[in-house]
Structures are given as C-alpha cells and as structure tokens.
Symmetry: none
Subunit: 405 residues, 2 copies
C-alpha cells in the first residue's frame, strides 16, 4: 500500500470568522505562507463541525472531529475538564468545572477571586474538611480553575450549576430531571457549596489576601455537570496510536479520555502569548512515536471572544510561522481545521462552517491556493461534517473497513 | 411534460482513483472523448456512495445507487450472488458464495482448485448425495464459483465463513450471534462441508484431474452469508421498467432481486478482456423495451485491485470507445458513475468520493469539460450520496411524488 502512514490534525481553535474589515476575515488578512502552501498542494473544503447553523462548543467540536458522536457521549463539559486537570475519572462519575471565586452576602463579587494564582492550600483544606454523601475528588488547576468529581451510586449529571456566570447571587443547584438521582446530586452539590464556604471563609490564606487588599477565594462555583462516558479508545477505533498536544484542560482531557498520550508543553497557555513554537517542537517529537497527533492551538478563539480582529489576525500569522517548522514529509497526512468559528463581530462561537485543508499522499488536489474561509468554500472537498473527518483521514491511510464485499 | 423518458445508469466499477502518476489518476490519463462530451454538455459532481470515508463493497454500492438503503436490506453478499447464478432465492433464505477449492490435510492448497473450469458433474453429485437438516439449493457458476442457499425455519445469516481466504486451515463455521438460529445454521454449514468433502474426495472427476496432474476440487468454501431481504421491485418504487446488463453474478443478482430483466452478453467476463462492445449493443437493444437500464462494466476495478495503473487507464479508454456506440438521443438521460474508488496505490476499495456525470434533457449544465475525479469536484452537483442518485434521476423524468402539497 502506497499511502501516508501518519496523521497530524491541527485544530486552530475558533480561527474561523465572518467578513468584518472590508469584507475580510482575520484569516484572510493574516500572513500564512505555510498554510497557503499546504492549501495549494492539497485540497480544501468547508465543514459543519456539528450541523449547519449549530455553534459547536470546543468540547462537542473536538469529540466530533475525533469521531465520537456528542449526542452519544456528551452530557456536559465537566468530565473532560476533570480528566484534563489530572483526575483519574471513571465511567459514571459526575464531574464539574469549578472556579474559585469571591462571594459577599451570597453575591458573587468576582468569578476569579481577584485572579488568584495559587489555590493549593485552599484545595487541600477542601479535600481535608469537606465530607459529602458520596466519594469525591477535588482538584485545583491553573489560576482560579478547579474540577470536582462526585463518585457513587445513584448520581446524575442532570443538575443546574451554582455558577451564575456574572455578578449575581450564587445559585442553588436544582435537579433538572425528575429523578431521585438528580435530586440526590443537587443536594450533594449544595452541601459542597455550604461546606466549602465554611472551610474557606476564615482560611489563613484568605485572611492574608484580605490583609493585602486582594479578594478572598471564599467559594467554589460549579458548572458543566456531566457524566463520564464510556469512550472506546481512539486507537481501538482507528488502529492509530495517538497523542495530544494542547494547552487547555478541555482538549487535554478529551485526549486522555480517548487514550491519547499527552505531551505537555512548557509555556503553552491557551492564550495569544502561548508558546506555539514549543508545541510545534513537541509535535515533531510526538510524530516519531505516534501515528496520530492532535495539536490544538487556542489563541484565535480568545481574540474572537475579545472581539479583537487585529490580535486574532496577528496571532494567526504567528501560528503560521511556528507551523512552518513542522517536519512535514511524505509519510504524513496533514489536516488543518478550526473547531468552530468565533467571529469577532459576535464575540461568541457561531454555527458558520469552518474551513479545512488536507495535504499529503493520496489526497485529490484542487485549484485552491490559499487557506481561508472563502477559498475553502471553493475547495474540492465541498462540505462535510465534523464526524466525517476521522473516517476520511483513516481511509486515506488505508485503514477503513469495507462496508459490504 | 418535456422531459427525458428513459435513464441509462452506467457504473464504471472501481474506476475512481487517487492521484498517483505525476498527480494524475487513470481516468485523467485515459482517452475519453465520449465521456468528456457528455461532461461538457451535462453536469458533474462527486458522490459518497455510502458515506464520507467509508469504502463501499460493490454490493452495498449498487444497492445504494438503486435506492435501497444497505443498512435495511444488506446482511451479506450471498443472496445477490445466489440470485445472480440463477437460483430462485426467496425471502428469508440464507445464501452463501462458494468456491470449489483444493484441501489437503484440512489446509486449503488452492482456493480455485487449479482454476477448474467445469464443475457441473461435481455439483450434480453434491445435489444428489448431500443431505442437510434443512432444504438447500446448490448451484455451480463460472469457473470455480458456486452458491449455496439454505431454506427452512429457524435459520440465520449470523455465522462465520468456512473460507479462510488464503492458504490456511479450512475454517469451522461458528455462530456470530447468540441465537438458536445462528447455532443451528453454523451446524448445518459444517455438516455441508463434511459431506461435500466426503462426496468429492474420491469423485471420478477428481481422480481424473489428479491423474492429469491438476488439483482436485475436493471441497467447497463458503463465505458472504446473508439473508435474502424483502426488496420492493425497482419498477414499483420508481415506475420505471428496468433491465440490467453486467458480467458478474453480484450485479446480475442485485438486478434480478429488484425485478430487473437481465440481458446476457456473450463474452462479458467482468475482466479487462470483456466484450464491452457486446454489452453496449445489448444496452441499445434493452433501451427499446425498458425505461431504466443499469450497465455495469467491471474491468477497471480488477486493474485497481492488481495495482496496475496503465491497464486501468487503457481499459477506461477502451470503455469510452465502446460507449461512443450508444444510441444517445433526446429521450435519454445518461448517468455515469463509479460504484467506488479502487486506487491502484491501495489495491482495495477506498472511501474517496466518486465522480459522476448526468447528461440529458432538464439537466442543469456546469462549466466542467472533462470527466474525471478533479473536474467532478468542480461540478455543479457538488457532493451527494449514493442513495440520492435514484431520486435525482427519477425526478429529472418527472416521476417523483411531491412531498407535501
């Protein structure tokens, strides 16, 4: 078989956009000679990562791109975040994303507790002094972030968050399904909130913060409840030994949950200041050991959420320059895609299709010469769905099973 | 209604490919002035015969092209092969493809029994002397080929093959579902294997073959177990009286099972040496009596499986020359498609989309001027699925029922 042997899937998180400045997008304005070369030598297309007009979350988008139907495996973001921060989650666990935050008279003053940077001692106290009506794992992460996992019989992800997502009263978790499990879980979540506040409100770390004029981290807000799904490993499904390189707990967690090896990158922040060059070095390393590498680069999404056209465009130029150091050879099939559009005009994810390109042996080329939303719409791949991506890539490697005879 | 009256669907079996020789495919290199004229005057597109990235079998592909969802009607290739070799199969029958083969000490020495050409006497003996725990029909076909149909209550297609598909021990059929029917069927299959060997091992035909230094046909290997589905006839579904012209038992069988009239062609072999000219004459004849003709031309698939770029390309040139003798007039809608790609670089079916063209009255033309994988990706039909083909064609004939009012 004369086929490519390995796949590199590069996800430019939130990179796609709508025409904004003189009808152009950040990707059109960005200087991307490397991506343009791949486009010229490969094939382009557009993709509905979930479905036309449906804005994907980064979680459901990555699951789709890896071939896991979100409607089968996704109940909330918590499980992937929890796996990403290093909790060894198990099927059936109920997991939440958490924020250390500041409350006063039950009202959230700051969802990030004055951008607190080290919550280790606070988390230790929570682990030591909080006692719930089920087992739990609480793990602090970067900055104000954390994750909570509830483990036990008769639990459910069908509960509302305690995080009001803005300056407002901290919310009481309520069952969102009429089941004993949902009622029990909401009760446990509210008990968690009560005990955490009691543990943190006079904690020495917070007393010290108040003395120094910073906000105390006196609560943990929870959101993104989800049940940890059963996920057949990516290698079992595709025959490809896989690795993940990313900065955010979400992407790392999804990779870990489908059995990918995680390659940490120093200085990878998930922001526009991220060490993309380090990630690219890591990809070159990972490709020696693995047949499939998922590389997520996050900054463009952040700039989209900030509504910052210029930063988004400049970041994409920097990404292209870093990607040009990839060891791209005959054995490699390269795919570049966005997981969703984050238009600067919207400051949120949109359901616009995203551009993608495929480059490498066996790929039918087309006449497109640059990589952006407009050229992709002229591409020879036309329009596919996110769930089509893994079958197409593995088929190009000659690894798909024939349906019929 | 000013519409075309008839449809000719030409399936160039396995004709589609990947860029191989200087980025070109066999179809690009082939000299195809007739197909190029149809392309220039008609419209092109690409088609996922099953789904993006899924390599179709010829069986599931043809079912899709004719509008029968494989997931509803397909359990294995046996029923179509059995119908194709002339067995009058009935709904619920369990059918297998068979090979006369040579075994020694239970190991398959030659899956084609020294390319045996006449198995009639051997088959007669099997029909006479084998007795199973259900009714059965055994029918020899061209060369080493045969088909077996089991008929009776409580049978299942969920059994493993006895054909190891290579030089290895002949396999014991096992139930592949936990059901009494599967267990019973596997038992019958193994009993068939035992009795066939007992009937054939000292058969006069085989004694004669051994004397002459050729391999004895002392077993029949079975594979492709499937249950004969209920198929609403093509004419009932579409209103079109239909005929099939092909060389392989599979395509003929599918045609017969959906009620098409089969027009045999002398010298049609399914190989690159096939009498394509005779098939084209047959099409011209069949179009006088029928409103839908399915013409399958197989050789390109064979060349793809052989990894032979030059032969594949030359064969397609010869196909074009033969097709130029078609009586193509205003009453006729012509569609040309591949049922799947068989890239010479892969030597197997792939899940790449296939090119197709439509020509005739009512077809919206596009700017494409030649028929190949690359121009098709620029075509005005964009990207459709195999199951879309029959609705599109019958709609162009004004025969589709309105959905709604």
């Amino acid at each position: 078989m004369d086929v490519a042997k390995k796949v590199l899937l590069i996800v430019l998180d939130g990179a796609a956009d709508r025409p904004t400045v003189r009808g152009k997008t950040p990707l059109v304005i960005a200087d991307t000679p490397f991506l343009d070369r791949l486009a010229a030598e490969g094939i382009l297309g557009i993709m509905d990562v979930i479905a036309p007009g449906t804005p994907p979350g980064s979680d459901t988008a990555h699951l789709s791109l890896l071939g896991y139907p979100p409607e089968d495996v996704y109940t909330g973001r918590g499980p992937f975040e929890a796996a990403g921060v290093g909790i060894d989650v198990r099927q059936g666990d109920i997991a939440f994303r958490g924020n250390f935050a500041t409350v006063k008279n039950n009202t959230v003053i700051d969802r990030r507790a004055g951008r607190i940077s080290n919550t280790h001692q606070l988390a230790e106290s929570i682990r030591e002094h909080v006692h719930l009506d089920c087992d739990f794992v609480f793990q602090e992460s970067v900055g104000h972030r954390a994750a909570l996992v509830l483990r036990g019989e008769g639990l459910s992800p069908m509960v509302t968050p305690t995080d009001p997502q803005r300056s407002a009263a901290i919310m009481t978790s309520k069952p969102s399904a009429n089941s004993a499990a949902a009622r029990k879980t909401a009760k446990i979540v509210n008990e968690f909130t009560r005990q955490v506040h009691s543990v943190l409100k006079d904690h020495p770390v917070n007393k010290d913060r108040v003395r120094k004029g910073t906000l105390p981290a006196n609560t943990v807000l929870l959101r993104g409840a989800g049940a940890v799904p059963h996920l057949v490993s990516f290698e079992e499904r595709t025959g490809l030994k896989a690795a993940v390189i990313g900065a955010t707990a979400l992407v790392i967690g999804i990779g870990k949950l489908v059995g990918m090896q995680y390659y940490p990158t120093k200085g990878a922040t998930g922001h526009v200041d991220s060490n993309i060059e380090g990630k690219v070095d890591n990809v070159n390393e990972a490709m020696k050991q693995h047949e499939f590498v998922l590389l997520n680069i996050k900054g463009a999404d952040e700039a989209g959420h900030d509504g910052d056209f210029r930063t988004k465009s400049q970041f994409l130029s920097r990404v292209d320059s870093a990607l040009s150091k990839l060891h791209v050879d005959e054995s490699l099939l390269v795919t570049v895609a966005a997981d969703h559009s984050t238009p600067v005009s919207l400051r949120e994810h949109s359901g616009d299709p995203v551009p993608f390109l495929m480059w490498g042996k066996g790929v039918r080329t087309d006449d497109t010469e640059v990589f952006n939303e407009f050229s992709a719409a002229q591409g020879g791949m036309h329009r596919v769905r996110g769930l089509d991506m893994t079958p197409i890539l593995t088929d190009l490697l000659g690894k798909r099973k024939k349906y019929g005879a």
